[in-house]
């Protein structure tokens, strides 16, 4: 009711009533009421899952992708080859309280024994569901169908088992759809139904309630499909960082992936970013000196008082440094899990005998058309240039990449809205949700090439506007808005800007507050020893100091 009242105040429309539902549905009336009520949910910290498989890099990884794609947080992944002893796995599983378990393992026609062993581990650990302590744990079995009956017998007393087609029918083929649907159904029937007020929300909405990240994933996929772009979207929150991407696989098919870095965030888990990155990694982004202890104390104090906000420029830059490291770590996690599998026809006899899938990384920053930043630290950065620089640094972008932010974290709402009105959702997404900041131009120099002078020329709509200078970050065409054709011409044969070494590359982009951000620093991004002076120069060049 508070939320409806706030919308009423902001919109000036009369919406709220005393009845149930607490809003007036007026259909096409333009003066008052609403047309439609939709909802997404991240209640209780979102959907938490345990996944298990036989081989870590095959079935367990497919299970992880299925769970993440359905909007879950994977709190533990277990596989028969994860190097742990039985008692260690059992001990670990006992400590997690998943909402749902996804059990996979074995290909069709293959051995059943190992997946049955994983089921035995599961029953020995007997994880308890997070909600409804008197209910049986929902377990989805998406492994070798020949083992389904045995798995059912073993898990029968512990779990409410749903059996769906194998996520990995063959080593070369992944079929995540049925497992994802089962997760979605169990999310609604077992997880959401325990959330207070769920029945009420459901009665107000004509469509099902979606997990918030699944709704974001939907809108990202739709946008990528409509535009043909390779897209990467990050949502950095207080506790977690979600990364969504659509990149083509080697057959040219767009492949969607989502990962959640469950303990990389800007408040509740800010100290974990510090723990994973270390103080030196955070300090390299700062244009001033800071003592290690003082840095750690600031971040721990933010962790225990998560709603406080930076009130000095120095403190703001510290949080933005944390954001860069969270993005860097989240991307590394995303790269590791976003893999394609070679099709059988591409594999030789030796590979088939090896019985291991040939995996390749889907994420290719040089091919990335657009990056979208979401979450308070990016969407509400005091300056758009700060948001652009955080994404450029954190992801170490390459080539020509459109930079955008989600204006007010509208993406989940548009994701669920797209299930009702896809065209309207797309228009709102493009015109009100996405704020185009400009583009990044990052030439990549071949390893060991010793170059001097500028790396590349930048042309906009046929006019030379500037150069990318080695080691420097500068901006061009700031203040210019709207669509423009950016052509980048390498000035050395060892420089790649997206079309191969020495070849010019051009793209149509939408320019915004940050213009064209030219980054002449090396890739992989390694900062010099005198980072404070170097960062001071970057910040000054971009008008941030």
């Amino acid at each position: 009711v508070h939320a409806f009242t706030e919308v009423q105040e902001l919109s000036g429309r009369s919406i709220v009533t005393e009845a149930d539902p607490p809003f007036v549905m007026t259909g096409s009336d333009l003066t008052h009421g609403i047309d439609l009520y939709l909802s997404t949910s991240s209640a209780g910290g979102g959907l938490q899952m345990l996944v298990a498989g036989v081989v870590g890099t095959i079935t367990a990884e497919s299970a992880e992708r299925a769970a993440l794609g359905a909007g879950a947080i994977v709190i533990e992944s277990v596989s028969a080859d994860d190097g742990r002893e039985d008692h260690e796995r059992i001990e670990r599983i006992r400590h997690v309280k998943p909402d749902i378990v996804l059990l996979t393992g074995g290909v069709e026609g293959g051995s059943s024994q190992h997946v049955v062993e994983v089921a035995e581990i599961l029953v020995a650990a007997a994880p308890r569901p997070r909600f409804g302590s008197t209910l049986k744990l929902p377990v989805i079995y998406a492994g070798n169908s020949a083992a389904a009956a045995e798995v059912q017998r073993i898990l029968g007393s512990l779990a409410q088992l749903s059996i769906v087609p194998n996520v990995r029918p063959t080593i070369e083929r992944e079929d995540l759809g049925p497992a994802r649907e089962a997760i979605h159904e169990l999310f609604l029937s077992h997880v959401m139904s325990h959330s207070p007020g769920y029945g009420k929300l459901l009665s107000w909405s004509p469509v099902e309630i979606m997990p918030t990240p699944a709704a974001v994933g939907d809108i990202v996929q739709q946008y990528a499909q409509q535009t043909g772009f390779s897209v990467m979207c990050v949502d950095i929150g207080g506790a977690t960082t979600d990364l969504f991407s659509v990149f083509p696989d080697r057959q040219g098919e767009p492949r969607f992936n989502r990962t959640v870095s469950a303990n990389l965030g800007m408040s509740y888990s800010i100290a974990n970013v510090l723990r994973e990155a270390g103080t030196a990694a955070l300090k390299r982004w700062l244009p001033f000196e800071i003592d290690d202890n003082a840095l750690r104390e600031r971040l721990l104090n933010k962790m225990v008082r998560p709603t406080s906000i930076p009130q000095t420029v120095e403190d703001l830059f510290v949080e933005q440094a944390v954001c860069r490291e969270a993005l860097r770590l989240a991307l590394a996690h995303h790269r590791a899990l976003s893999v394609g599998v070679e099709q059988a026809r591409e594999r030789g006899i030796a590979d088939i005998f090896r019985q291991s899938a040939q995996r390749y990384e889907l994420v290719d920053l040089m091919k990335l058309d657009m990056v979208i930043g979401s979450g308070g630290v990016l969407s509400h950065a005091p300056s758009r240039m700060q948001a652009a620089l955080m994404m450029l640094d954190g992801f170490a972008l390459e080539g020509i990449t459109q930079l955008s932010v989600d204006s007010i974290f509208m993406m989940p709402h548009l994701g669920v809205f797209a299930s009702v009105h896809p065209q309207a959702a797309r228009e709102i997404f493009e015109h009100d949700c996405l704020v185009h900041l400009g583009c990044a131009v990052v030439p990549v120099v071949a390893p060991r090439a010793r170059l001097s002078g500028p790396l590349a020329q930048v042309w906009v709509d046929g006019v030379l506007v500037g150069e990318v200078v080695r080691g420097e970050v500068t901006s061009l065409c700031t203040g210019r808005t709207g669509s423009a054709t950016v052509r980048v011409v390498p000035l050395h044969r060892a420089v790649d800007v997206g079309a191969g070494r020495g070849a010019p590359h051009q793209r149509t982009v939408v320019l915004g507050a940050c213009g064209i951000l030219c980054d002449g620093r090396s890739r992989p991004l390694e900062l010099a020893a005198d980072t404070v002076q170097q960062q001071e120069r970057v910040y000054r060049n971009l008008g941030l100091l």
Binding site: Y268, Q311, T312, E314, P382
Partner: protein
């Protein structure tokens, strides 16, 4: 009437299930392992009892698998040659935590204990629920607690309080002496790491394997103990109390606490208001004023631009030093 350490509920939990890989231990196939079993599902067995036996070469060689624990055979899986042994049920005891009168018993679920109590809520803590006797340390509110402030005797079962930023040696001496709790104003991050043995990344605590629960009331760094908190704790000197370091900053927020039955007749708390308004005392919780106290003078309605360039709703505070500062409302806490 129950005391804090009195058991108010008990339950018998299903015993852990242990997996025995019979086929692997005998070095045979799953089917051969099943044939070699000398027990069946549901059998009660004792530790060391024979589970499977295999004789080979006309009985000359004998391989066996013995039960690693006492329990019941829960399952036998033909396709793997494994079996599960369920350990006997174990008893879980729940103590009252707060001494008081049992006001209600919800059968098989809960017990409600009522008491007129004093509670001190901290900002962060480590270690779980413990019961002890409150004992003050001879240290000023702004003074670092060192080993020298700790008595060499009488620490057993104590919940100590006082000072700020205890040294690691001080915490370790208190724990070694048998203290069960330590409440202080602030903590140094290195001391925390040294005490728990690792870096804490996410503010979900309470399960640390530490011998003494530690609660801080102000934050990390060197911050003095709030006089108001000391006023509340001092009357508890020598009394039994419960301490819990468990902290969960996110959903279902939980802060660490000290809880004790209060003395004297219940009184209305002298809390002027739960909302921010002119005249309130506030604590500033963000640099450059972190840890300072002041009085709210004005609460401008419209958002204002702050030094970072962001727009935020602000509050004007007169610090105890007399300086007037304007800070985001998100960066103050009511301090009464």
């Amino acid at each position: 009437v129950v005391s804090p350490d009195q058991i108010v509920a008990r339950a018998f939990l299903e015993g852990d299930l242990h997996l025995v890989r019979v086929a692997e231990q005998l070095g045979v196939t799953a089917a051969e392992a099943v044939k070699a079993l000398r027990i069946s599902a549901g059998s009660a067995i004792g530790e060391g009892e024979l589970l499977a036996e295999l004789r080979s070469v006309w009985g000359l060689f004998r391989s066996t698998v013995q039960a690693p624990l006492t329990g019941t055979v829960d399952f036998i899986t033909a396709s793997t040659g494994h079996l599960g042994i369920r350990a006997p049920k174990r008893e879980l005891q729940l103590r009252a935590y707060l001494g008081g009168v049992v006001a209600a018993v919800e059968s098989d679920r809960a017990v409600v204990i009522e008491a007129h109590a004093t509670i001190v809520q901290g900002i962060f803590g480590v270690g779980g629920e413990r019961i002890g006797v409150v004992r003050g340390l001879p240290v000023a509110a702004h003074e670092v607690v060192t080993e020298a402030h700790l008595p060499s005797q009488g620490l057993e079962g104590a919940i100590l309080y006082g000072g700020c930023t205890p040294t690691l040696a001080a915490l370790q001496k208190a724990a070694r002496g048998g203290a069960v709790g330590f409440i202080t104003a602030s903590l140094d991050d290195e001391t925390l790491r040294g005490y728990v043995g690792y870096d804490i990344g996410v503010a979900v605590t309470g399960d640390e394997a530490v011998p003494m629960s530690v609660v801080i009331t102000e934050g990390f760094g060197r911050l003095a103990f709030s006089e108001r908190v000391l006023e509340v704790v001092r009357p508890l000197e020598g009394k039994q109390a419960a301490i819990n370091g468990a902290t969960q900053v996110r959903a279902g927020a939980q802060r660490p606490e000290l809880l004790a039955v209060a003395t004297g007749a219940p009184t209305q708390p002298s809390v002027p208001s739960m909302s921010l308004q002119p005249g309130c005392t506030v604590r500033l919780i963000r640099v450059p004023y972190f840890g300072e106290y002041g009085e709210v003078e004005e609460l401008p309605a419209a958002p204002q631009q702050i030094a970072t360039g962001a727009y935020a709703r602000v509050v004007q505070v007169r610090l105890r030093s007399g300086d007037r500062v304007v800070v985001p409302r998100a960066n103050v806490e009511l301090a009464w």
